[in-house]
């Protein structure tokens, strides 16, 4: 038995809380980066963002389009271990994910918030 909609709301809150908790620690934040590739379906990438991270459809589509148009997008951030765990989950889904230190991002994307415009 599932209640996907309600679960999605709860998971969004939890994801935000835990990311915030981790950032208050004296820990350098890490980013989870998803890279574009010519194979993965846009619908599937959005589905993965919705179902795994519990992001809304609108947020998932926005991140997906950013991957598609800009070649990459930071879709989550947090402590290193947490972000690495996300990366393995993304690899399980077949998405091309890497982790990077927030400050090491070459294009100024390495800051809190994940999905800037």
């Amino acid at each position: 038995m599932t209640d996907a909609g309600l679960k999605g709301e709860e998971r969004t809150d939890l994801a935000q809380e835990s990311a915030t908790d981790l950032l208050t620690a004296a820990d350098v934040p890490w980013n989870l980066v998803i890279w574009n590739d010519p194979v993965n379906l846009m619908s599937y990438v959005s589905y993965v963002f919705q179902s795994y991270f519990g992001y809304s459809e609108a947020k998932s589509n926005k991140l997906m389009l950013e991957v598609h148009r800009k070649g990459r997008s930071i879709v989550a951030y947090g402590g290193k271990e947490q972000v690495e765990q996300h990366a393995v989950a993304m690899h399980g889904y077949g998405l091309w994910a890497t982790v990077e230190k927030a400050s090491s991002s070459g294009d100024g994307q390495g800051r809190k918030g994940g999905s800037r415009g």
């Binding site: 999605g8 010519p38 379906l41 846009m42 077949g94 994910a97 890497t98």
Partner: protein
């Protein structure tokens, strides 16, 4: 990424859809046979080679100290490096996680192979999730074999829609790729519809 065009390559299968019975689909025996073959191929690529000098304790807890970055491009796409420009850190991470990642993928692929045993398909939400992962891995491997490197390559492969033109291995692979793409797209749409309905 790509947007799925239609599935003109094969007309017999029916798109997955979400309805009263859940997520349902229909595949002909030849299509199921084809998909099972593809899934089995990916499983055999992912099955870890256990080496004779492996430490049984580290193996038991899922570590693999002998693991290396895959030399096969398709396998590297399935099991990518976790850091863009740090081979040493990526290798260390691989030692800790690659075995379990292979097992996750093999699990999804096996569940799909087992479910391909009847024409009328009825998938639970969890089965649908595993099938969508398996189809994705099959497509990633086919795409490497077809040398799809960018969106232009993908468009070129998409143009191949007529089975009567399948006169060489590459065009046959392209048709199989397009069929799997169409099938995965319809499955994801059905999964999204089921999420909407429950939300």
């Amino acid at each position: 990424m790509e947007t799925a065009k239609d599935g003109r390559a094969v007309r017999v299968a029916k798109a997955f859809k979400y309805g009263l019975k859940g997520i349902t689909g229909y595949l002909e025996p030849t299509e199921r046979e084809l998909l099972r073959g593809l899934v089995d191929d990916v499983i055999s690529m992912l099955e870890p080679q256990s080496s004779a000098d492996e430490d049984p304790l580290t193996a038991l807890i899922g570590l693999d100290m002998n693991v290396r970055e895959p030399s096969d491009r398709a396998l590297l796409r399935l099991l990518p490096n976790v850091m863009k420009n740090d081979g040493a850190a990526s290798l260390e991470f691989r030692q800790l996680t690659e075995r379990s990642l292979r097992e996750t993928k093999i699990g999804a692929l096996r569940a799909t192979a087992m479910g391909l045993d009847r024409n009328d398909l009825v998938l639970t939400p969890e089965e649908a999730r595993l099938w969508s992962m398996a189809f994705n891995d099959v497509r990633l491997v086919l795409a490497e074999r077809l040398d799809i490197r960018d969106e232009a390559d993908a468009d070129h492969v998409h143009a191949m829609q007529d089975w009567s033109q399948a006169d060489d291995v590459e065009s046959y692979l392209a048709l199989v790729y397009n069929f799997t793409t169409w099938l995965q797209e319809s499955l994801v749409q059905a999964m999204m519809a089921s999420m909407d309905r429950k939300g």
